[in-house]
């Protein structure tokens, strides 16, 4: 059977109230249906191998919350409770997830929570920290293959670009694969994340297909996916958009100007960098003449230093 490699999976579920509220008003999708499918998926994952480790994070619009493992109790005592049989293990996991999900849902949201964009980056950062800890605890025994599955509903948050990129690079460095299952609009950021970490990016067309998508595509571990399982022939059809968005107008640019100090991207030339307030020299001609003037003043400085000494 499969070698002694342990799997760690962190599922991030986007529960953005605005998006789900809107969908449910339109009668298109209901969050509980998706949540049920997700639970079946997680049980299947646990059933694959008894050593498989799972964590679930709910990504609300202003907070991200660990649904499982439950944060209050130490994990150690917890495991003994469901240690007796698998059926019960599932039940324990399910109950923990459902109860914390219920509290989250019934907490209600305040005015500040009403945002249409999602907080995936924060949840992913938490997931990485969690994976980091789990793998460190295992390290002496065996290698773990770890994975993050993002189930995303709401739109990308433009303000999170930088954090998101940092998270992707960290995931790449830690060899964590990011898979994403997108329910709403295509997400450029997640596309990049999946592309760079070797994960799978899929957009689910209808809520009825959600569970089948999860079981077919996202249950398989990344290594197996690469070597032996054909998942979709359409995978490579869409190319990942690596164009940059300029800092001034947030529009995608093909040719832009980059500040040499802070690497901010601008779509047109401006004399002062808006990010780091550096003043740019307009042309190379001026630059050269200035340099010439600078040279003598610089060379004189060591002399003065020497005289002080």
């Amino acid at each position: 059977m499969d070698p002694g490699e342990q799997q760690v999976l962190v599922v991030i579920f986007d529960v953005s109230p605005v998006w789900w509220g809107l969908k449910s008003l339109q009668g298109q999708a209901h969050i509980t249906k998706f949540f049920d499918s997700l639970i079946i998926f997680m049980n299947s994952y646990l059933m694959l191998h008894s050593d498989n480790k799972l964590a679930v994070i709910a990504s609300h619009s202003t907070k991200s919350i660990f649904l499982y493992p439950p944060p209050q109790a130490g994990n150690e005592q917890n495991s003994s409770e469901y240690g007796d049989c698998r059926d019960k293990h599932f039940a324990v996991v399910d109950n923990a997830i459902i109860s914390s999900f219920k509290t989250l849902m019934s907490d209600g949201c305040e005015e500040k929570d009403m945002r249409s964009d999602s907080l995936i980056a924060g949840s992913m950062a938490n997931a990485l920290c969690y994976i980091h800890r789990i793998t460190q605890e295992l390290e002496s025994r065996e290698r773990a293959s770890s994975r993050i599955l993002v189930v995303k509903a709401a739109d990308d948050a433009a303000s999170q670009y930088m954090s998101f990129m940092n998270v992707i690079f960290a995931a790449q460095k830690e060899h964590v694969v990011v898979d994403s299952c997108v329910l709403g609009q295509d997400s450029g950021l997640l596309q990049q994340a999946c592309d760079m970490t070797g994960g799978l990016y899929l957009k689910v067309p209808s809520q009825y297909a959600f569970l089948q998508y999860l079981l077919t595509a996202f249950l398989t571990e990344p290594e197996l996916r690469k070597d032996s399982l054909v998942l979709s022939r359409t995978k490579s059809l869409h190319s990942v958009d690596y164009r940059a968005a300029c800092f001034c107008h947030r529009c995608l640019v093909e040719v832009g100007f980059v500040c040499s100090v802070c690497l901010s991207i601008f779509c047109q030339f401006s004399p002062i960098c808006s990010t780091c307030e550096t003043v740019f020299r307009p042309s190379s001609l001026v630059l050269k003449s200035r340099k010439k003037r600078k040279v003598p003043s610089r060379s004189s400085s060591p002399c003065t230093d020497a005289s002080i000494k």
């Binding site: 059933m47 003994s80 399910d94 032996s228």
Partner: protein, 484 residues
């Protein structure tokens, strides 16, 4: 060839065992969610994902579609996965109505019960909540001690060592049937004798021993015409109980069953009339030390580490032995065994000579004679070395290789000495009248490659049996020619 029969002890994996069962039996096994999960976990990796893919798809999947699931590089794994699924009748081949293309469909009961496990529902099958807390709760150390005691009693019986602790007739029968012992009768007294297979069995590590024994037990049960299904289920649930965290101390005593739940569980199966089959099985297991029950009538029992070993055996990982290693083998062929167990002494005595015995240690010597006696008994050199390695003292484990090459080689050489003589049938030609006649015939036989042995001084030669006719014909012709 020499006359010793070479018996190979065969130890099947769970998967192989299940494959031997008839489809109807498997189907009824799948009635139970726990069994489904055990079988599911046993599947090859790819097969697991295949099952998951079709779990919620009610229609059969055409073969062509299934083939397209795997890349070309993984063709062999794919075939293996599909074969495993079909062997276990998890997938059944069906012909699609109105078409020539054949398809696979997931077994209905398997699907239903696997879904049940995932989604929930159904009744829970192991609850002791209504029994209340156990007054006589056992801790792990006690369980371990109990298990070791019982299992060693069984092995003692096998070795036939002095302390002939009572072993029930059933288990004796089982030992005989599995070919581990031979029963003879002499002067009206029954006596038992260990077989070559039995020797090999002794040298296995305890995990493999238990698994082998359980398999034999299942065969035995089947031969007696008992219904396998409830017993298999019982074993699965037992092993299952501990799959989660094997080493977890507290996970053990939690698993307790009441007889009432068992009765309920058996009522689910009308085909099998009597629920005391499982109870009888429980008693057998109790005797082997696989489970611990305080009294025969006690309403709960505890699985011991030996059963956990079955579980880990099914997971194909090396099982943790009951005790740590105790043997130190030196390059001067001395073996120091730090143990008090009579059984271990008896096993070691199978291939060593005892030199000294002290309260907690004994010194033994591997000699040519002792090793060859072992070989005569049907033990191979590799099994001896495996036993030493498997029971090596932690200090000895630090060596690399664990057993010094000189020692290992010598044991093998001694064993090979038994194979020095090779027997070959042949025909002796003698009483040649002239040296020339002898030489002519010998040269002819040598050209044929049929000459086995010759002694020119005594004019004797041996020719293989196959070539005898040809040589004889040649000789007659030669005589005729030279005579005329």
């Amino acid at each position: 060839m020499n006359g010793i029969e070479r018996v190979k002890l065969e130890c099947k994996s769970l998967h192989q065992y299940l494959c031997t069962l008839p489809q109807a039996l498997l189907e009824s096994l799948y009635e139970h969610p726990a069994t489904c999960t055990v079988v599911f976990r046993e599947l090859p990796q790819l097969a697991k994902y295949y099952v998951m893919r079709v779990l919620f798809v009610d229609k059969p999947i055409t073969k062509v579609a299934v083939t397209s699931w795997a890349t070309n590089e993984a063709r062999s794994e794919h075939t293996e996965a599909v074969a495993a699924l079909c062997d276990l009748h998890v997938w059944n081949e069906v012909i699609l109505p109105g078409g020539v293309s054949s398809a696979y469909s997931l077994s209905f009961t398997f699907r239903k019960n696997l879904q049940k496990t995932l989604i929930g529902g159904g009744e829970s099958w192991s609850s002791t909540a209504h029994l209340g807390p156990d007054k006589h709760a056992k801790d792990v150390a006690e369980l371990d001690k109990y298990a070791t005691e019982r299992w060693e009693a069984l092995l003692h019986f096998l070795v036939g060592s002095a302390s002939n602790s009572a072993i029930s007739q059933d288990l004796q029968d089982l030992l005989v049937q599995s070919g581990l012992i031979r029963v003879g009768e002499e002067d009206g007294r029954r006596y038992t004798n260990i077989t070559a297979k039995g020797f090999q069995f002794l040298l296995l590590d305890s995990g493999s021993q238990v698994w082998f024994f359980v398999l034999e037990y299942l065969n035995w049960v089947r031969d007696r015409g008992m219904n396998l299904v409830p017993i298999l289920r019982f074993i699965f649930e037992l092993s299952f109980s501990s799959v989660g965290k094997v080493s977890k101390v507290c996970s053990l005593p939690n698993v307790t069953w009441s007889q009432s739940t068992k009765a309920k569980f058996l009522q689910d199966l009308p085909t099998d009339g009597k629920d005391d089959r499982v109870l009888q099985c429980l008693q057998h297991f109790r005797e082997m030390g696989l489970v611990m029950q305080r009294k025969r009538t006690s309403r709960r029992f505890y699985p011991t580490r030996l059963v956990i070993n079955i579980a880990s055996r099914m997971q194909n990982s090396s099982s943790s032995a009951l005790s740590t290693g105790f043997i130190i083998a030196e390059t001067n062929y001395r073996i120091y065994a730090y143990t008090n167990s009579e059984l271990q002494y008896a096993i070691l005595a199978l291939f060593c000579e005892m030199l000294y015995r002290f309260p907690n240690v004994c010194v033994l010597q591997l000699t040519r004679e002792s090793v060859q006696t072992a070989v005569v008994n049907g033990i191979t050199a590799d099994q001896i070395l495996h036993f030493i390695r498997a029971n090596a003292h932690p200090d000895m484990l630090k060596n690399d290789p664990v057993i010094a090459p000189t020692l290992a080689d010598q044991v093998r050489l001694w064993a090979m000495e038994r194979d020095r003589l090779t027997f070959q049938e042949g025909v002796l030609y003698n009483q040649f009248l002239a040296q020339h006649d002898f030489e002519v015939l010998r040269n002819y036989a040598r050209e044929l490659g049929a000459l086995v042995w010759e002694n020119a001084a005594k004019r004797n030669m041996i020719v293989t049996k196959d070539a005898h006719d040809q040589v004889k014909r040649y000789w007659k012709r030669y005589k005729k020619e030279s005579g005329t």
